[in-house]
């Protein structure tokens, strides 16, 4: 791996500091040196990339990723994809995320028991290209809850999107099985979801004994618990049991907000509001008109979520982008749209939105000291962007504006040579 020197770039370092012009030298898989201003770093044999004023920023982190969601419109359609095809799908999606600038992803649940683990291992072994990845379990749920896709006459676990448990001992067994497979996190569905009308977003149905059994096992093996928690009760339940990663958190009351604020140094919230927005505004081609979505409860949830998340943001709770991309109405790799939503609906500044995808991303990846910001010694996950994301966040989801993606010191997308391309190739 040749060393790379980016010169003449505007460095947006991910900490929230204003961008500055400078150079960045990458040696091996790390940033060796960050230089300010025109004071040149000597290339000393490095490949020199003259950025011509482009923005250099840390690779982004997706905090709530489902590689195995296959851009289908229903959970059942995800689940009926056969295993072999499903693995290849995940591999393809992993590559797309990396090329779209997501150099890290936090797995938030997979659709079959081992998909996430296998993809993480294959990425780490260099067998397939993909982001740094934390592998999740399937969603663990209760009978009739979000994720139980079995039909009354077809009660077989293979038909179920999530793993259905009932009681603390079944929970313990399910968690142990996933820990045996090698997951990094256990995903618990603590609340319902308006996507599944039999268990809407406001419902909370897991017993404390069940959650406690799961978290016992998680702590015993040094792993992490994550929760699908839309209702206020489920957010509080997650916090009571030491779950650090809270997905959605649409509904809150003062007590919830106080608890979140008190735990803000350990808790991450990834709301995934894109799916709510899409169900209300963009799902008509799949039969979900605005009227239907409103009936399903999405309008009510949207309003509640904006209020809750704004309050959390004001109180300094870390809110991260990503979430539930991989449905027909929220296709994979539009994920950077979350940053625009944060600014438009949650009161973020563009700088705060960038920081949520970079510095906070390194933190949720449990590598905050070396991932997510540009500084001497950090891991070389870098994006070269044509334009200023602070002026227009939408450029982050335009593949043409993403000039280069580097992960761990290696280009996943190398910058084009701007000099006139020679068409003549010689053997």
């Amino acid at each position: 791996m040749a060393d790379v020197l980016f010169t003449n770039v505007r460095i947006l370092d991910g900490t929230g500091a204003n961008p500055y012009t400078g150079s960045v030298l990458v040696a091996g898989n790390r940033i060796r040196q960050v230089g300010r201003g025109a004071a040149a770093i000597r290339p000393a044999g490095a490949q020199v990339i003259d950025g011509a004023g482009a923005t250099l920023m840390p690779g982004m982190c997706e905090a709530h990723t489902h590689f195995s969601w296959n851009d289908a419109a229903t959970l059942a359609a995800i689940q009926t994809m056969p295993l072999e095809e499903h693995v290849l799908w995940c591999a393809k999606v992993a590559k797309k995320y990396l090329e779209a600038g997501w150099t890290s992803c936090v797995g938030a649940a997979c659709a079959k028991p081992r998909l996430d683990v296998v993809i993480r291992n294959a990425i780490n072994a260099g067998q397939i290209p993909g982001p740094r990845y934390l592998a999740a379990s399937q969603e663990i749920t209760v009978l009739g809850g979000l994720g139980d896709e079995t039909l009354p006459h077809l009660p077989f676990p293979e038909f179920s999107f999530g793993v259905n448990v009932s009681g603390a001992e079944e929970m313990r067994k399910a968690v142990r099985l996933f820990l045996k497979y090698g997951v990094d996190s256990i995903k618990l569905n603590l609340s319902g979801d308006n996507f599944t009308p039999q268990s809407p977003a406001g419902t909370t149905w897991m017993t404390d004994a069940e959650v406690a059994a799961a978290m016992d096992e998680v702590r015993l093996r040094g792993k992490r618990g994550t929760a699908h928690a839309r209702s206020a009760a489920s957010v509080k339940q997650a916090l009571r049991h030491g779950i650090d990663v809270i997905y959605h958190a649409s509904y809150s009351d003062t007590e919830t907000l106080d608890m979140l604020e008190a735990a803000k140094d350990r808790v991450f919230v990834a709301p995934g509001i894109a799916i709510i927005y899409a169900m209300l505004n963009e799902a008509e081609p799949w039969g979900v008109t605005r009227a239907i979505a409103t009936d399903m409860g999405y309008q009510h949830e949207w309003e509640a979520a904006l209020e809750s998340l704004r309050a959390m943001h004001r109180r300094g709770v870390r809110i991260l982008p990503g979430g539930d991309y991989g449905f027909a109405f929220t296709p994979h790799c539009n994920n950077a749209r979350d940053l625009e939503f944060f600014v438009k609906y949650l009161g973020f500044t563009p700088m705060e939105a960038i920081r949520s995808a970079t510095q906070y991303g390194g933190q949720i990846m449990m590598r905050g000291h070396e991932l997510g910001t540009i500084h001497d010694g950090a891991l070389a996950d870098l994006l070269l962007v044509d334009g200023d994301p602070l002026a227009n966040l939408a450029i982050l989801r335009d593949p043409k504006r993403l000039l280069a993606v580097m992960k761990d010191g290696v280009f996943a997308r190398a910058p084009e040579i701007a000099a006139q391309r020679r068409w003549e190739r010689a053997a």
Binding site: Q47, V48, I49, D50, G51, A52, G53, A54, P82, L83, E84, E85, V87, L88, W89, A91, K92, R114, L115, V118, N121, A122, Q127, I128, L384, D386, L403, A404, A414, P415, E416, I417, A418, A419, R422, W423, E424, R425, A426, A427
Partner: protein, 430 residues
């Protein structure tokens, strides 16, 4: 996809003639024009085409591997292949498929898969662009009998998931098995008609009843599928001809009657002997416990001699012998398949020209694509290799990835030729 014009290349067109200097124009996924030129003489570039100045490099059709097992995972035993979980196994197959294309095999004929759907899924994923790989015909698992080659179940672990092959007994089970694979969408049903000494059943033993075989063939034909047989024993080779099994793998032990039968039906059958397995098992597998002593007990040296003799005789009689076979074991790793061409020259008595034809022009019909594949001719599919060196002078250059300068499949570069000249160290981003 941009049109591509190869200029100043030595063209081996698959017709068996000496190569000539010329230009080849590819438009879309087909070869649009093949022109002879004098050496060094350049034709004017075609408007809009990417021009590749071959500088005298050797241009030939992409090669066809006639007996491919993507799912064999370079392990020393069938059991070790079978124990790989399905998720890892499909990623392995995808990785190997790319490796074959890298090495110039633009088409592969699947010869059995280690789990029911691996081959079918890989073929489909290649065809829809999810992964990169050669043109591919998908096979079933090996269909075998209890205790036969491919039945890796242990007496106390009889579950079918432990079996490398699909184990059947009796015509009814055979029919059900063939139907299941047809449902999954295979192109080929693979049946193990003979044993394989390393698995405990000697290669000269034949395991199926005539009735079971005929049900397999009948059912396969009803679904429009092809049958391919693992057939090392004399009886099994003859049975292939008698029952109309098109693809015969191995054919180590042929007596005079078997040779006569094959010669009389030589346009109805393909032979892929997979000599690499025999040669390397006998000579190069000591590191995995197959010492000369052990392989002698398994009788492999005698089988190797018999197989070479059979292939020499079949070649003289004009039966098509194709390269490929049983790469994917520890001592026959994937990607080294072009060694088969060297073996054909060294052991079977083929000229380098014949060996090259066996990997190209004869491969088209093996892929069920007739003369569209395996030739550098106008109208043919653009599966094209550019080789640094002359395989007709030294057939081993095809074993060296760095000598295969570029690989094109279906008009698209899988590997584009390197650009000549010092590479600039400065790249400009914007």
């Amino acid at each position: 996809m941009a049109d591509v014009l190869y200029t100043n290349v030595r063209i081996f067109d698959g017709g068996g003639e000496a190569p000539f200097t010329g230009d080849v124009l590819v438009q879309g996924n087909r070869i649009a024009r093949v022109v002879k030129t004098g050496f060094g003489q350049r034709t004017p570039p075609v408007l809009g085409a990417q021009v590749i100045d071959g500088d005298g490099a050797f241009l030939m059709p992409g090669m066809v591997e006639a007996h491919t097992h993507f799912s064999w995972n370079d392990q020393p035993s069938l059991d070790a292949i079978q124990r790989m979980p399905p998720e890892e196994h499909i990623l392995w197959c995808a990785e190997v498929a790319k490796r074959y294309l890298d090495m110039g095999w633009t088409s592969c004929v699947g010869a059995a898969t280690a789990k029911p759907r691996l081959d079918v899924v890989i073929r489909n994923a290649i065809n829809d662009g999810t992964i990169v790989g050669p043109r591919y015909l998908a096979a079933s698992q090996e269909i075998t009998v209890p205790g036969g080659l491919g039945d890796t179940t242990a007496p106390h672990l009889p579950q079918s998931e432990f079996a490398f092959g699909a184990v059947v007994s009796g015509p009814h089970e055979m029919r059900r098995c063939v139907r299941m694979f047809a449902k999954y969408g295979v192109d080929t049903l693979k049946i193990n008609l003979s044993g394989e000494s390393i698995t405990g059943m000697p290669s000269e033993m034949s395991q199926f009843t005539t009735k079971e075989i005929s049900v397999c063939v009948e059912e396969a034909k009803a679904w429009g599928k092809r049958v391919a047989a693992h057939a090392r024993s004399t009886w099994s080779v003859k049975e292939c001809v008698r029952q109309g099994i098109e693809v015969i793998y191995h054919a180590s032990f042929c007596d005079e009657e078997a040779l006569d039968l094959l010669e009389a039906h030589k346009f109805e059958h393909y032979i892929a002997p997979g000599l690499a397995w025999l040669i390397n098992t006998v000579h190069n597998a000591s590191a995995w416990g197959l010492t000369p002593e052990v392989v002698r007990k398994m009788d492999y040296p005698r089988e190797l001699d018999a197989a070479i003799e059979s292939m020499r005789a079949l070649r003289k009689r004009g039966v098509r012998i194709l390269p490929g076979g049983d790469y994917g074991f520890a001592w026959t790793p994937h990607g080294s398949n072009a060694k088969d061409l060297e073996y054909f020259v060294r052991h079977v008595g083929m000229s380098p020209m014949e060996a090259l034809l066996s990997a190209t022009a004869w491969g088209g019909p093996m892929m069920k694509m007739g003369k569209q594949l395996g030739y550098i001719r106008e109208g043919c599919l653009a599966d094209i290799l550019l080789v640094d060196g002359d395989p007709l002078a030294d057939i081993t250059v095809l074993q060296d990835r760095s000598r295969i300068l570029s690989v094109m499949k279906d008009g698209v570069f899988h590997r584009a030729p390197p650009v000549r000249g010092a590479r600039s160290t400065t790249r400009w981003a914007a």
